[in-house]
């Protein structure tokens, strides 16, 4: 029990650290910049961040079978970040210098990322519908 509580404290402290990059990227986007004049930046930032947290909380409260949801995000976003993107960056930068064998490797990895991610995501979605049927409050 102690471990659990300590863990929760640890997580609570990590929460903003996890949130930060996301908020940062969102705030860099053009939508955000257009929304209000820059003179109101401080207020805007606080309100905006509050809404991001609020949105996350609402999703946390009303998403059934969260494990599946997380898996979906993991399969799509994380495999993109870990496999597909680096391989594409590599291909783009090294383009002409690659041997055929190397090129095949690159595409194999892209395929692995896309295929694995998509397959996992698809099964997760199926899991969702099933779970939704059982739970009766599907997404």
């Amino acid at each position: 029990m102690m471990v659990q509580l300590l863990y929760c404290v640890g997580l609570f402290l990590t929460f903003p650290v996890m949130m930060f990059p996301a908020v940062q990227i969102l705030e860099r986007s053009s939508c955000y910049k257009r929304f209000l004049p820059a003179s109101l930046n401080a207020i805007k930032r606080h309100v905006f961040r509050f809404f991001v947290v609020a949105a996350a909380t609402l999703m946390a409260l009303y998403t059934p079978h969260f494990g599946l949801f997380i898996n979906l995000i993991g399969a799509v976003s994380c495999s993109t970040l870990a496999f597909v993107v680096p391989a594409l960056i590599y291909r783009a930068t090294m383009g002409k210098k690659l041997t055929r064998w190397k090129r095949a490797q690159v595409w194999a990895i892209v395929a692995f990322g896309v295929g694995g991610g998509a397959y996992s995501a698809a099964l997760t979605l199926i899991g969702f519908t099933e779970a939704g049927d059982e739970g009766g409050e599907g997404r």
């Binding site: 029990m1 102690m2 471990v3 509580l5 300590l6 863990y7 929760c8 640890g10 997580l11 402290l13 990590t14 929460f15 903003p16 650290v17 996890m18 949130m19 930060f20 990059p21 996301a22 908020v23 940062q24 990227i25 969102l26 705030e27 860099r28 820059a38 930046n41 401080a42 961040r49 509050f50 991001v52 947290v53 609020a54 996350a56 909380t57 946390a60 409260l61 494990g67 949801f69 997380i70 979906l72 993991g74 399969a75 976003s77 994380c78 495999s79 993109t80 870990a82 496999f83 993107v85 680096p86 594409l88 960056i89 590599y90 783009a92 930068t93 090294m94 990895i109 694995g116 997760t124």
Partner: protein
Amino acid sequence: MGGLDEADIETVTTLNVVLSSLSFVGSCTIILSFSCFPELRTFAFRLVFFLSISEAFYALFNFLGFPEPGSAACRFQSIGLSFFGTSMVLWTSIIASTLRAAVFSTKDVARFKGSERRYHCFAWGLAAVLAVLPALTDSYGPAGSLCWIDASSTGALWRFVQFYMPLWICMSYNVWVYWTTMRRIRRALLRAGGSISRARMPLLLYPLILLVCWLLATVNRVQNLIAPEQPQFWLYALGLSFAACQGLLHAIAYGMTSSVQRVYRRILCAGHAQGDDESLETTDSESESMRAGESDGVMLAPLKGGYEESMDGKDDGGDTTAVSAAASRPRRGSGPRQLKDVSHQIRSMYLQGLGVLELAGFQSHDDAYSTLTKGGWDTFDMSAESAAEAGAAVKQKNGITATYFTMFKSFVGIGILTMPHAYMQAGYIGASFGLVVIAIISYKGMVYLLDGQQSLVSTGVLKPDELVSFTKLGVLSVGATMGRVIDFALVSSQIGFCIAYILFIGSNVSHSLREASLADIDEKLVVIIAATAAVPLVWLNSLKRLAPAALAADVVIVFGLVTVFFYDFGELSAPEGPPEVDPLRLGTLPLFFGVAVFSFEGIGMVVPIRQSMAEPEKFKGVLRNTIISLTTLLVCFGTLSYLAYGDKTSDMSKMRDGVLALDSPCSPFCRLSQSPSTCRTTAWS
């Protein structure tokens, strides 16, 4: 246990374990700071470091709770508590004696260096001898709510001879030393025209902590001696709680030392100086001024109207030393900085300053101040100047060991705790095999990213040392679309994990509270409370201020890991034998994929870490070894936990169910990588 019933004992044990964990975290913070920042490795901090080691172990032995009397665990705890309890008291006295020697003697540095071995012999040796004594009469056993020296008459004798007598001798010595030292410094200050109120606090903290922590415990044991039949619950509870707090309080005292604060502040600010175009702060004028105040710390102190004072009273000295500090403090962006033997220099300055104090008195007002700042004023502090010198060390490139450390820190996140669940989904053969495959492919991906960055450098698009975010790399190499894809993936995964975090906190807090029958709070309520509490943290403009918190979180995570391992072994050796497990589960295998990918998500970090290395060409080897050890760790951990628990639902697996949702795409710390400079500067050097 006479007047204590089981519920009472349980309460006391729980209290003890809770406070010990806090102490443990505190001690670990000190230990980590010591190992991370070379500026904090002065002789004095070395002593604090060894004190913290004792305290950390003391706390660990407290974690055992109250083992069955007569069991091996009980004996183990008794010896551990007795040994580390004594050694931590002895270390405080050693610190006191060095302080005294530093203030009152004029001998040179070499004397101190030589005496360290003697200190070790004294602290550990004497503690070991004292710990052996009660074992001779077989007096180790239950002592109220934990195992220590038992309550028999010989036991009671040992308690006092073996622990409380040395404790009080050390304490009186400490108080005496601090008292005389303080008086001397005050006098010197007065003579130099300063005011008395300035020399205060940190010197007194250490003996005060010892006094606060052990006073009630002593009263309790005396009461035990006088009336063994009527133990007082409150005495027990308070005595043990305060005793368990020692590590925590020391950590707080440590954090109040201004050199520690300075180091942290500087580490945090150094990130600003470099990561300007990456970090968001530039958008905001409010944070802009804040940042200026931070990064120019000492220099701006007089102008900023008491900025230093508001941080900490004892920083007042910054005002007068500011001139010299400004002269020697490297400005940000100034060229290559020299690296000196920082710790040696600080130590000699420290003692030189004190020598002046002893021999010549004070020449001038300024002289007095700087001497005192250098010297005994701030227990074991370095002067503002030497702090600035030490600042040079931040620019130092990392060696191999430091890189390993950083890598490990970036990769071992919370992801590892999801392994048992992942194993449940894929079966132990399937999961182990899958992990290896994904490890290889992740490694490939990271190598691709590194090569990509290198080739951008070679074609002149990037400068070799330019810090570049993942997104920017994508935009530069492939195009704007790639940037958007990366942004989307980052945002969705981060937000997803944030959601997971609060859900996990919700379910676990409410579950734990219910379990301990402290309160019955609905999960959703906890979620809402946690999220509300997190809003101000999210409002913070700079992650760097959270760096210590993130470090603490990392410590907690490692601690959680160790605990789960511990439970696993216990469960494997449980009489009912291991549960049913499957070698391979094809049906849920795809669900394993996501979790496994998370566990290797350190990719955002590889480029900055490589750039921070002194010999970047060796990075691939480091990366490979890190991945190999991480895979081994994951496989061992997953297999062990799965074999121990199978699909069983128990408290631990309840925790795991939560842990499932607790994945991080990357270790929490490494998410600082969004402004990569932070990681670079916090990278261990």
